[in-house]
Subunit: 360 residues, 2 copies
């Protein structure tokens, strides 16, 4: 290890002093960025990720880059992150891109798409398959940069009080399932309802709804659904739910190169780390559910239901692509990439996991 | 955004000058670390990862942390990285932990283990399941720190010129497959040979060997094996091959806090990024092989062979655990974690991938 100690050799200090003309030396400025997150205070996994990112940035910059986090109890606008970062009210945000599909429909493709890529496939698409560039194309006109912000892992299809054995079983089923998945379910005859999170447990318990989809074991466990619904179905609707960091472009441009890189790398690592933490927490929580309620049963939708969900998804995506050239470009990119990368997943991880279950 | 410009306000500069007594102000020192990598110059994926890590560290530190990389053509000791970092001849290394099992047997468990965790499962184990702590327990007595350094993804089982339909087909088969996998294969009657990489193609073409295992599509493609062997088998032996960064502990301890964190985060991101790049490059390469040689056929070993390989692996691991308490501790930790996390993988990604292939 060679240590070079340039700035504090007396000559260097003197030179620095002599050349000092009142212009700030960028390398020594400190910055405090205000970040608004969708989540409430101390939110497990999601909120921990924001804090983890801020901690890395502060430590790597020796305190020159501080990120002050406001949770939703403070800013009162959990689904207003897009606007608040766009307007500069906040410098950064931590949220899910698809919350803003009502405002900017093309934001929805960057969180996850039904029947699309798994997490490792989607990170490969973001970083090597053109995903980052397309996401930027959507956020650029709003004066923002968008970065992957952490993954929940493959989300579960939801809690059902009765088995689903056919498409007919979906008819009239009252289910809480928001977003794109809700649209697809609704096309298949499900009565899709939206119920505030705080009322979900009681609604399911009292039969106001027959089923609901939340996230996965780690975030479902504290909600308690496993106590009142027996069937836990594997998912199809959010195979790789990635949340996002948003950064106001003027703020980003105002950071010196080193702090830009520190922020970029801190966000990138925090995002990957959230996927590792989700994997861990989901496995712990699934064990705990089964231990507390051994009757809880894992189910997969029958092929007939999967086919119907998949065809409906494909039809809706085709309609979206027909309405907007940029939507078409994003959907084409994702579907083309999926087709290529899934061949690899199938001969590697899938073949491996299949071969093990064959001999078990 | 609030900008605080402390150090270069005239009063602060004056104060800094007045307090300057010749003691180096840690925050302004520059460091150049020498890194030895196992790989040759410009090695795809592996060498790119080392360079990517160095680039991030230099940029995040505004040039205060430089990493000078020597490839194997320079240091001439591709499998001597452990010793060179231990002795301080190099400050850092980029290599695979299991190359050193002849010297320190317990290093082998931190690259990958046959029939063990997939990549997302293994990262969860490293960062949340006790893996980092156990790896440090192995490297600490040698005055080194060890960090995940990038993943190749699930490796393929190898190139075979004839189909393997039974355990009997393995009898007398001449195969290049090094390490733990070679030991397992050898127990099942395979004539395991070691052949330098440069002679592999000719050996397979001339029938000196009947089969070989290398890495996966991305690194197999330039070797050309797909031109002379028809059957490409899915793997069992390296489901999550993670390479490692090694850092000499004295060097690490001599870095100021901010540069330690910059180095730690740069290594962590570079490792995750290598997995994303591997996923991408493997999928491209597999497509290319099939395009150039449509006869190339993907195969999976029959259940009888998988069972035999798996039982042999379990027996060898049990023998290793019996010989050394730390080996037992690592194997227990990995197998316990695998048992828990695989349940989650099975109800999430595996169930999802299975449901799609059912309706295809």
């Amino acid at each position: 290890m060679k240590i070079r100690n340039a700035l504090f050799k007396p000559a260097a200090v003197l030179a620095a002093l002599l050349s000092f003309t009142g212009a700030p030396a960028q390398a020594e400025e400190s910055y405090t960025l205000k970040l608004a997150e969708t989540w409430g205070p101390n939110s497990p996994i999601l909120g921990e990720t924001t804090q983890h990112m801020a901690d890395m940035a502060e430590k790597m910059s020796a305190g020159r880059l501080k990120i002050r986090i406001d949770s939703s109890n403070k800013h009162k606008a959990p689904f207003g992150i897009f606007d608040m970062v766009k307007s500069g009210q906040y410098d950064m945000g931590h949220t899910a891109s698809y919350y803003y599909k009502g405002k900017v429909p093309n934001t929805m493709y960057f969180t996850t798409v039904p029947f699309s890529m798994t997490v490792p496939e989607q990170y490969a698409w973001f970083y090597h398959g053109g995903g980052m560039e397309l996401m930027q194309k959507v956020y650029e006109p709003h004066g923002m940069l968008s970065f992957p912000g952490g993954n929940t892992g493959n989300q579960m299809g939801g809690w059902f009080r009765k088995e689903i054995n056919s498409v007919a079983d979906l008819q009239g089923l009252k289910m809480r399932t928001p977003g794109f998945a809700g649209e697809v379910m609704s096309e298949l005859g499900v009565a899709v309802t939206n119920i505030p999170p705080g009322e979900l447990y009681t609604s399911l318990e009292r039969g106001t709804i027959d089923a609901l989809e939340w996230v996965g074991p780690a975030l479902d466990l504290p909600m308690g659904f496993h106590r009142i619904a027996k069937y836990y179905y594997s998912g199809w609707q959010e195979p790789a739910a990635e949340v996002q960091f948003l950064v106001n472009k003027n703020v980003w441009d105002g950071l010196p190169d080193d702090l830009q890189e520190i922020l970029r790398v801190a966000m990138r690592t925090a995002a990957y780390d959230m996927y590792s933490q989700s994997t861990h927490m989901n496995s712990l929580a699934w064990d705990k559910m089964k231990e507390e309620y051994p009757d809880v049963t894992h189910k997969v939708f029958p092929p007939e239901v999967i086919s119907a969900l998949r065809e409906t998804t494909a039809r809706l995506l085709k309609e979206q692509a027909a309405q907007d050239p940029l939507a078409a470009e994003i959907i084409d990119s994702q579907q083309g990439y999926l087709k290529q990368v899934r061949k690899w997943t199938n001969i590697s991880d899938k073949a491996y996991l299949d071969s093990l279950s064959i001999v078990e």
